[in-house]
C-alpha cells in the first residue's frame, strides 16, 4: 500500500536534551523522519526542547516548537495544531513515554490524534517485563528466570527464590537507568529502591544472573504487511554485565554459526510479531551461554534506539528514515534502497567489512564516581570505525576516541610469573572498566594464554586471538632489522597507525610517514553499500583500508572538506555537529561539493545524506591527510574547514597547514593568538582590554607565589583544555597544594594556569563573525549563575537581561578588537566577566562555540552557515540579505524580541561512588553537563520556567521549599524567599538560615541536618527522600568545605527533587514560579517568532 491519503499533518516528538543513554542519535533519527515526512507532502509539527539539534532548524518542520517535552505542553501544541497523527518512535524513550502519557490521559482521543508507527499495547508488551516474558515464552523463546516486584518486600522474597547475584531492572527507563547488579542484600535494597522510584510504573524485575554470557542485539523492522527484516546483528565484545551502550560492540556478529544466528533471528521475528510492533524498528537483546549455546532474550526496545542509529551507520540502511515511511503507509518493498537505488528496502544488508563501536567515557569529570561498568549506562558518547577486519576496525576506533593513551601501547608488558602481578592483571580482566581492553592486550602480550584471559574476562576467545594477532604484528614491526615494504604493508593492513609504527621503530612519525609514502603504501577507500558489492553503490560513503582497489570516483566540482567533532564528550557534543552540518548545507548551496570526515555514529553529519561524500574516519592527522590526498586525486579541493567541529579539528589546523593543506577560514596563526596565553595577552594589551590577573606555574611553589601576588580566590586549570577539564577554584594555599598534587599531568610542557577568580561577576558570552573587515555580533548572552560556574553548565539568557547599553557597547568594542587582533576569519566566541563595572576578558575561542546553535535559534540568524561561507571568501556585507540580516546584528535586538533561556542538563544521577552514594551535584568551573535545553517566550520568567521544565526540573507552583545557604549568600536569599512565602509556599530551613529569615520577618520551620537529628527526629535527608519538599535550595559556601551540603544535594539528586545550588538560579526560579502561578505556559513555534 502506498502512502496513506488520510494523513495531512504529523506531530513528531524529539528526545529533548542530550543525556547519558539518549544522545544525538535521536537528532539523527528525528531529522531523517522530518525530512521524509515533509518530502511526502505532510505538514510536520515538531516539539523538541533541544536547540542544538538539526531537527529544530526552522526549515526541517512546518511548525517547530522548541518547548519542553511535557504532556501538558504537548497537549497545548496538539490543541493549537490539531495534527492528524503523532509519530512517537523516533525520539527515544522520552518521546515514547510522552506519547503513552498523552494516550493514557485521553488527550490523543480528545483531539482525534492517531498514534502512528506505534501501538500502545505493543509498547507495553515490549517494555513491561512480565508481559514481555510471556511473549517470549509464547513463541518458544527463553527468558532469564525472574520475578516482578512492586515493593521492597516483593524484592526480598524474590531474591530468596533466585539467589545472588541478581540483576535489577526497572521498567520503562532508558539507558538502563536504575538497573544494576546486586551481590548481596545491601546492594539489592539500594538498587531496587531507586529502581522502584525511577520506573514510571514503580516496577522492577529481578533476574537470574547471566553474567559473562555472550551478548547480542538484532535490529529488526516490520511493515504493516507483516514483512520483517533484520537490518543488523551486533555482538558485544564485553559480555553480559556491561550495558550495551558501554560495551565495545561489533557488527555484524562474528562468533555465531548460521544455525545459532538463524535461531536468534527466528525468535526475534516471532517476538516482533507477537508483541505487535505496528510498523518501524525495534531492537532485541539476547544472551548466549558460551558453554551450551542456550539463548535467552533479555529485552526489547519497541522503537528506534541508540543501537538502531549505530546499525544504520554500520550498514548504510537508514532505519529511522524507513521507519517514518512505514509509519505513513508504505511497505518495505515499496521503498527503494537509497544506496543502490535499484533494489528495494525489503532486504537484509550484507556487510563485507566490520564495524566496531567504542564508548567514550567522562569519568575524569566525576572523580568520585565508581568507574566500574555495569548495566547502567555511563558513557557520554561513542565512536565507530569501519575496517575490512575486526583488528583494523578496533585500532581505528581506538584512535578515534581522541583520548591520551586511547591507542594500544604495544611496547608494554608485565612479568606474569610474579604472582602478585598475575593476580592484579587477572583481577583487572575480571573487572569491566573503560580500560579493560588495554589490560587484555597487556595480558596477552605478556604471555597469558587466551584461555586464561577468557576465564577471567569472559571475552570471546576469538576476539582475544584477534588482539593477540595485532600484538604479534606489532612485535614483528618492533623486532625486524629493517622495516621492509612487506612488513610495513602488513602493519598497515593490520591497522597500526603511523604513530604506533613510529613508536615501535623509535622513529619520528613524520619520518615514518615519509617512508611510507615513498614506498607507495597508501590506503584505499571502500564503500558502504548494504550489499557486499553485489550491486553498484550510488552513495559515496567511504572508509579506508590497505588493499588493492579504491572506489573514490573522480569529480569535477571543487570540494570543501569539513572536519567533524568526533565522539560526543562533555564539553564537545552535538552543538559542534550542528555547525558542521550547517556548513555542508551552506557550502553545497554555494556550489561546492562537500566532504565530511567524522567518526561519531550518532550524528547527523555522518548521515550519508548530509554531505556529498562521507568518510567515516578518525580525526587524526594521519587519517585526515590521507582523505585529503584521496580527494585531491579525485578533483580540485578548495581546502579544509577546521573551525566548526570544536577543539578536535582546531587542534589539527596547524599540522595540516604545515603539510601544505589549504586551511579555510581562521588560520592556525590566529588560533595561536587566541589560545596562547602570552600572545593573547598581547592582543588584549594592544586593544586596551583587561584579563583577570594571572600567571603560569609548573610547580606548587610557583603557583603559590602567583596566587599570593594576584590574591585568593584563584581559578586553577591545566593549559589547553576543553570544557574546563581539571578546573578548580581554590581559596587558600592548602587547597592549592591539594590541586597541584592531583593534577598529574603538570609539566613544563603542560603548565597550570592560575587566574584571579572574580567573585560576584556577571559572565557574558559572545558569538561573533569576522571577515577581516567587519564584525557581526551574533548574540550576547548573559549568564544567570555568577562567574565561576562553567559557561557550559550555567543557564544563560539572550538577549541579555540586565546589561545596559554602555556595557553592551563595551562588549561590542571588545569583541571587535579581539577579532581584529587575532585575525580570525569566521566564528569567534568570547567570554567576558563584568565585576565592579570592570569588563574582563576571560577567554576567546577562535572557532564555533557550544552556543552557536542556541544563538542561531534565539536570533533567527544561522551563524555557522555564515561562517562556512566566510571561510570560502565571502564577506559579511556580501551575506547580508541572505544568510545574514539586511541590517543590524544579534547584539541589537528589539524589546519585543523573544527571550531565549538556555539551561544545562547534568548527569549526576547516573554516577555513584564506589560505596554506592550519589556523586556531588554542585556546579563549578569544571563542565559536567551533557546537554542543554532552550526555553523561549516573550519574557524572562516564562522562558526560564520553560527551560527548567525542559531540563526536567519541574518548578512547583505550591508546596514546601527547603533552603540552606552559606553565610555570604544569606542576604541575597531574603528577597526571593520572601516572594515564595507571599506566593503561598511553606519554607523549611536549617537553623542558621532560618534565624536570618526570622530576623527579616519570614516564618520558616527549622529542621535538623542529618548529623544533628536526635533519635526518632526526621532530618533534612529523611524529608527529602520521602519527597517532603517540592524544591530544595542548597547553596554551598565559598570558603568552607563544600562537603557540608553534599548529603542534602545527593539526596535531592537521587530522589529527583528539583534542586537549585545558586541564589541567582533561585531568583530566576522565583520569577518563573510567579509566572506559572498566574497563567499556564503557552506555546509558540519558531516560525511564528520569526
Amino acid at each position: 500500500m502506498p502512502i496513506r491519503d488520510d494523513l495531512h499533518s504529523v506531530l513528531v516528538i524529539g528526545s529533548g536534551p542530550i543525556v547519558i543513554g539518549q544522545a544525538c542519535e535521536f537528532d539523527y533519527s528525528g531529522t531523517q523522519a522530518c525530512r521524509v515526512l515533509r518530502s511526502e507532502g505532510l505538514r510536520v509539527i515538531l516539539v523538541n526542547s533541544n536547540p542544538a539539534t538539526i531537527m529544530t532548524d526552522p526549515e526541517m518542520a512546518d511548525a517547530t516548537y522548541v518547548e519542553p517535552i511535557d504532556p501538558d505542553v504537548i497537549e497545548s501544541i496538539i490543541a493549537k495544531e490539531r495534527p492528524d497523527a503523532l509519530l512517537p518512535t523516533l525520539g527515544g524513550q522520552t518521546a515514547l513515554n510522552a506519547a503513552i502519557a498523552l494516550h493514557e490521559s485521553g488527550v490523543l482521543e480528545k483531539y482525534d490524534v492517531e498514534l502512528i508507527g506505534a501501538d500502545v499495547d505493543a509498547i507495553q508488551r515490549g517494555e513491561d517485563r512480565q508481559k514481555f516474558k510471556e511473549v517470549v515464552e509464547s513463541v518458544g523463546g527463553e527468558s532469564a528466570r525472574s520475578v516482578i516486584c512492586h515493593s521492597m518486600d516483593d524484592v526480598l522474597t524474590g531474591a530468596a527464590e533466585l539467589g545472588y547475584p541478581l540483576v535489577v531492572r526497572p521498567s520503562f527507563t532508558m539507558g538502563g537507568l536504575g538497573s544494576g547488579l546486586a551481590y548481596d542484600e545491601a546492594d539489592l535494597r539500594r538498587i531496587a529502591g531507586d529502581g522502584l522510584h525511577d520506573s514510571i510504573t514503580n516496577e522492577v524485575l529481578l533476574e537470574e544472573s547471566i553474567l559473562g554470557w555472550k551478548e547480542y542485539e538484532l535490529e529488526l523492522m516490520r511493515d504493516h504487511a507483516d514483512n520483517v527484516v533484520v537490518i543488523c546483528s551486533i555482538e558485544n565484545v564485553d559480555p553480559v554485565g556491561v550495558h550495551t551502550g558501554d560495551s565495545i560492540t561489533v557488527a555484524p556478529s562474528l562468533t555465531l554459526t548460521d544455525r545459532e544466528y538463524q535461531r536468534m533471528r527466528d525468535i526475534g521475528i516471532a517476538v516482533i510479531r507477537e508483541v505487535g510492533v505496528d510498523t518501524g524498528g525495534c531492537n532485541i537483546q539476547y544472551a548466549v551461554d558460551p558453554k551450551t549455546g542456550r539463548i535467552i532474550v533479555i529485552e526489547m526496545n519497541p522503537r528506534v534506539s541508540r543501537s538502531s542509529a549505530l546499525a544504520s551507520k554500520a550498514t548504510g540502511f537508514p532505519i529511522a528514515k524507513i521507519a517514518a515511511k512505514l509509519a505513513i503507509g508504505y511497505s518495505l518493498d515499496e521503498i527503494p534502497n537509497d544506496i543502490t537505488e535499484v533494489t528495494p528496502a525489503s532486504f537484509e544488508p550484507a556487510l563485507d567489512y566490520v564495524a566496531v563501536k567504542i564508548p567514550r567515557f567522562a569519568f575524569e569529570k566525576f572523580p568520585a564516581a565508581d568507574p566500574t561498568l555495569t548495566t547502567t549506562m555511563k558513557s557520554v558518547g561513542e565512536v565507530m570505525a569501519l575496517g575490512r577486519n575486526f583488528g583494523s576496525a578496533l585500532l581505528k576506533a581506538m584512535r578515534s576516541l581522541e583520548q591520551s593513551a586511547s591507542e594500544f601501547d604495544f611496547s608494554t608488558r608485565v612479568d606474569l610469573t610474579d604472582p602478585t602481578v598475575r593476580a592484579d592483571v587477572t583481577a583487572k580482566l575480571a573487572h569491566p572498566t573503560a580500560d579493560r581492553i588495554h589490560t587484555v592486550r597487556l595480558a596477552l602480550a605478556s604471555g597469558m594464554p587466551i584461555d586464561d584471559v577468557f576465564a577471567a574476562s569472559w571475552i570471546d576467545p576469538w576476539y582475544l586471538d584477534q588482539i593477540l594477532q595485532l600484538q604479534e604484528v606489532a612485535d614483528a614491526v618492533a623486532g625486524a632489522d629493517a622495516l621492509s615494504r612487506g612488513l610495513l604493508v602488513l602493519a598497515k593492513e593490520t591497522g597500526l597507525s603511523d604513530h604506533q609504527i613510529a613508536q615501535l621503530r623509535s622513529m619520528d612519525e613524520q619520518v615514518l610517514r615519509g617512508v611510507r609514502h615513498a614506498l607507495g603504501v597508501r590506503p584505499v577507500y571502500k564503500t558502504v553499500d548494504t550489499c557486499a558489492g553485489e550491486f553498484a553503490a550510488r552513495t559515496p560513503y567511504h572508509y579506508s583500508t590497505y588493499e588493492d582497489e579504491s572506489e573514490v570516483l573522480p569529480r569535477e566540482r571543487e570540494a570543501v572538506i569539513i572536519l567533524g567533532s568526533g565522539p560526543n564528550r562533555i564539553g564537545q557534543g552535538i552543538e559542534f555537529d550542528y555547525s558542521c552540518v550547517h556548513a555542508t548545507m551552506a557550502l553545497s548551496d554555494a556550489g561546492y561539493e562537500t566532504v565530511m570526515v567524522n567518526c561519531n555514529p550518532e550524528t547527523v553529519s555522518t548521515d550519508y545524506d548530509t554531505a556529498d561524500r562521507l568518510y567515516f574516519e578518525p580525526l587524526t592527522f594521519e587519517d585526515v591527510m590521507e582523505v585529503y590526498a584521496a580527494e585531491s586525486a579525485a578533483g580540485p579541493v578548495a581546502g579544509v574547514v577546521c573551525t566548526l567541529g570544536g577543539q578536535t579539528p582546531l587542534g589539527l589546523a596547524a599540522d595540516l597547514k604545515a603539510a601544505g593543506v589549504t586551511v579555510l577560514g581562521t588560520q592556525p596563526e590566529a588560533i595561536d593568538l587566541a589560545e596562547d596565553r602570552g600572545e593573547f595577552g598581547q592582543v588584549l594589551a594592544t586593544a586596551g582590554l583587561q584579563a583577570p590577573h594571572h600567571g603560569t606555574a609548573t610547580t606548587f611553589d610557583e603557583a603559590v607565589v602567583i596566587a599570593e601576588r594576584i590574591g585568593y580566590p584563584v581559578l586553577v586549570r591545566p593549559s589547553y583544555v576543553l570544557g574546563g577539564r581539571g578546573m578548580q577554584i581554590v581559596y587558600d594555599a592548602h587547597q592549592l597544594m591539594g590541586y597541584m598534587e592531583s593534577a598529574t599531568e603538570v609539566s613544563t610542557d603542560r603548565p597550570v594556569l592560575v587566574d584571579r577568580f572574580l567573585e560576584d561577576a556577571i559572565e557574558i558570552d559572545v558569538d561573533a563573525l569576522y571577515d577581516g573587515e567587519e564584525v557581526f555580533v551574533g548574540g550576547i548572552m548573559e549568564h544567570i549563575e555568577e562567574a565561576g560556574i562553567h559557561s557550559g553548565d550555567s543557564a544563560c539568557v539572550l538577549p541579555p537581561l540586565t546589561l545596559g547599553e554602555a556595557v553592551l557597547e563595551r562588549v561590542r568594542e571588545g569583541t571587535a578588537a579581539i577579532a581584529e587582533g587575532t585575525g580570525v576569519r569566521g566564528l569567534l566566541n568570547i567570554q567576558f566577566a563584568l565585576a565592579a563595572d570592570v569588563l574582563y576578558v576571560i577567554e576567546a575561542n577562535p572557532r564555533a562555540s557550544r552556543t552557536v546553535p542556541f544563538v542561531s535559534k534565539g536570533t533567527g540568524t544561522q551563524l555557522a552557515k555564515a561562517a562556512a561561507l566566510l571561510a570560502v571568501g565571502r564577506t559579511i556585507a556580501g551575506l547580508r540579505g541572505s544568510v545574514l540580516p539586511d541590517s543590524g546584528d544579534g547584539s541589537r535586538l528589539s524589546l519585543d524580541h523573544p527571550i531565549a533561556v538556555k539551561e544545562a542538563v547534568l548527569p549526576f544521577r547516573r554516577f555513584r561512588t564506589v560505596d554506592g552514594k550519589s556523586v556531588d551535584s554542585i556546579l563549578g568551573p569544571e563542565m559536567r553537563s551533557t546537554g542543554e535545553v532552550m526555553g523561549i517566550d516573550r519574557d524572562f520568567p516564562r522562558a526560564f520556567a520553560k527551560a527548567m521544565l525542559g531540563a526536567s526540573t519541574s518548578l512547583p507552583t505550591s508546596g514546601t521549599v527547603f533552603v540552606s545557604v552559606a553565610d555570604r549568600d544569606k542576604r541575597a536569599l531574603v528577597l526571593p524567599v520572601k516572594l515564595l512565602t507571599d506566593m503561598g509556599f511553606t519554607i523549611v530551613a536549617t537553623a542558621g538560615t532560618a534565624a536570618v529569615l526570622s530576623r527579616y520577618g519570614i516564618a520558616a520551620q527549622t529542621i535538623a541536618k542529618h548529623f544533628e537529628a536526635s533519635e526518632g527526629e526526621k532530618s533534612v535527608l529523611d524529608r527529602i527522600v520521602e519527597r517532603g519538599f517540592d524544591l530544595v535550595v542548597n547553596v554551598p559556601g565559598g570558603r568552607q568545605e563544600r562537603a557540608d551540603g553534599y548529603e542534602i544535594r545527593a539526596a535531592a539528586t537521587v530522589s529527583n527533587v528539583p534542586l537549585l545550588t545558586t541564589v541567582d538560579a533561585l531568583s530566576a526560579a522565583v520569577s518563573a514560579i510567579e509566572s506559572l502561578q498566574t497563567e499556564s505556559m503557552d506555546v509558540r513555534a519558531l516560525q511564528e517568532w520569526a
Binding site: R259, F347, L351, R388, W462, E534
Partner: protein, 384 residues
C-alpha cells in the same frame, strides 16, 4: 601458515586479472567458475553444498572460520567447492559445537584456497564482468608464469552447458524416515541435495526416498510415491534432458511435484520455458523474494547462476500446452528474476531459492507445508 611467513598464492581470472595473496587450505592448483556469495554466516553449509561443485567460491564476509566446523552442519557428505577465497581466515576456533578448525578440514578434503586478497575488488570485478573461470595457484604453482596460469584457467570446463549432477548425486538410493507419524512418501531426486531438505520434509511426516539423478521414471512410479521432489544441484539446466523428461512424466501422472533451485529450472524446462545464465548469479542469504499470491516479502537463501525465462504477471498457458496454465509465483525483488513457478492445472510448483535454507533465513519453510498440503489434497482418482 602465518601472517608473517605466508605461503604465496595467486588467483587468476580468465580475463587475466590476478590477485596475489596467501595460501589457505590445501596448496596446489585448482580451476573452476569464480562466484561470490554474500552470506555472513554459514560457510560450513556453503562448502558442503553440492550446488557449488565446480565453482571457486569467494566469501564477501571478511572473517571466515571463526566458529570452526562441527559434526552437525555439513549439508552433504563432501566438500564440493573447487576452490575457496577468503579475506581473513580465523586461526582460533570459538564455538561450543566446534570439533575442528576450518583450515584443517579444508586440507583433509583437498580444497585449495587463497586468503588475504582484496575480495571486494574481486567481487566487484565479477559483478561487473560476470562470473568467469578462475584458478588458484599456491605453493610451487604460485610461481608458475602468468601465461601458464591463464592458460590453465582457460582450459577449464565452462559452466554454460556443463552437466555436473552425475558427479554429485548419490550412488545408491537411501531413505530418510518420517519424523513422527508417517503421512506421505516422497521420491527425492538427488541432483546435489542438501541434507536440510530431507530433514524439512521428514519433519512434516514425509518419508523421503532419495534416488540418484539417473533414476528412470518407472522406478519412481513403482514406489507409488505421494509426491516427487527435485533438488538443487550444480551445472547448466540445459544439460539435463533426462531429468526434464522424468518431470514431464511425473506431471502427466498427476503426482504432486515440488522443485527447489535446479529443480525449479527443470520444472521450467519441463513446462517448455527456456533457461539462461545470469551475469553473476544470486548467492547469499539476504535475497528478497515476493510471494505473488500473498504479497509477502520473504528473505531467502539463494545460490543460482541460471534462471527460468517465464513471463511475470497473469498466468499463461505453458509452452508445453499439455500441462495447462502456469504462473510465476515468486519474483526476486532485486532484479525481477523468476524465483518460483506454480502450475494451475497440474499439482506442481517450484522455487528458485532455498526454503530449506542452511545457511540462511527460515522465512520460506512454509513451502514444505504447501507441498504436504498439495499431497493431502491430491484427488484419490489420480493416485496410483
Amino acid at each position: 601458515m602465518s601472517l608473517l611467513s605466508p605461503t604465496p598464492a595467486v588467483l587468476v581470472l580468465e580475463d587475466g586479472r590476478a590477485f596475489r595473496g596467501r595460501a589457505y587450505g590445501s596448496t596446489g592448483r585448482t580451476v573452476g567458475e569464480a562466484v561470490f556469495t554474500t552470506g555472513m554466516t554459514g560457510y560450513q553449509e556453503t562448502l558442503t553444498d553440492p550446488s557449488f561443485h565446480g565453482q571457486i567460491v569467494v566469501q564477501t564476509a571478511p572473517h571466515i572460520g571463526n566458529t570452526g566446523v562441527n559434526d552437525e552442519d555439513d549439508e552433504s557428505g563432501g566438500y564440493w567447492v573447487s576452490g575457496y577465497v577468503v579475506r581473513d581466515p580465523s586461526r582460533r576456533v570459538s564455538n561450543w559445537r566446534a570439533t575442528e578448525g576450518l583450515e584443517e578440514r579444508l586440507i583433509r578434503h583437498g580444497i585449495v584456497g587463497i586468503s588475504g586478497i582484496d575480495t571486494r575488488a574481486l567481487t566487484r570485478h565479477l559483478r561487473d564482468r560476470g562470473a568467469m573461470r578462475a584458478g588458484i595457484f599456491s605453493g610451487d604453482d604460485a610461481a608458475l608464469g602468468t601465461d601458464a596460469q591463464i592458460e590453465a584457467v582457460r582450459s577449464a570446463r565452462p559452466m554454460a552447458g556443463a552437466r555436473l549432477v552425475d558427479e554429485v548425486t548419490t550412488g545408491q538410493p537411501y531413505t530418510v524416515e518420517a519424523v513422527g507419524e508417517k503421512r506421505f512418501t516422497v521420491v527425492a531426486y538427488d541432483l546435489g541435495i542438501k541434507s536440510a531438505t530431507p530433514e524439512q520434509l521428514a519433519a512434516r511426516g514425509i518419508e523421503v526416498r532419495v534416488v540418484p539423478a539417473g533414476t528412470p521414471f518407472a522406478e519412481v512410479s513403482a514406489l507409488k510415491p505421494d509426491g516427487v521432489f527435485f533438488s538443487n544441484g550444480p551445472g547448466d539446466p540445459a544439460a539435463a534432458d533426462h531429468e526434464v523428461e522424468v518431470i514431464r512424466r511425473v506431471l502427466r501422472a498427476g503426482i504432486p511435484f515440488f522443485g527447489i533451485c535446479f529443480g525449479n529450472q527443470l520444472l521450467g524446462r519441463a513446462l517448455g520455458f527456456g533457461t539462461y545464465k545470469l551475469t553473476f548469479g544470486h548467492r547469499g542469504a539476504n535475497q528478497p523474494v515476493l510471494d505473488v499470491a500473498s504479497g509477502a516479502v520473504e528473505i531467502t537463501s539463494q545460490n543460482h547462476g541460471f534462471a527460468v525465462e517465464a513471463p511475470i504477471g497473469d498466468p499463461v498457458t505453458a509452452p508445453q500446452e499439455e500441462f495447462g496454465r502456469v504462473e510465476v509465483s515468486h519474483i526476486g525483488l532485486n532484479d525481477r528474476v523468476v524465483e518460483g513457478l506454480r502450475c494451475l492445472d497440474v499439482p506442481a510448483f517450484s522455487v528458485q531459492f532455498h526454503p530449506e535454507s542452511a545457511a540462511g533465513p527460515h522465512d520460506s519453510r512454509g513451502l514444505f507445508d504447501r507441498f504436504a498440503d498439495m499431497m493431502a489434497d491430491r484427488p484419490a482418482s489420480t493416485r496410483a
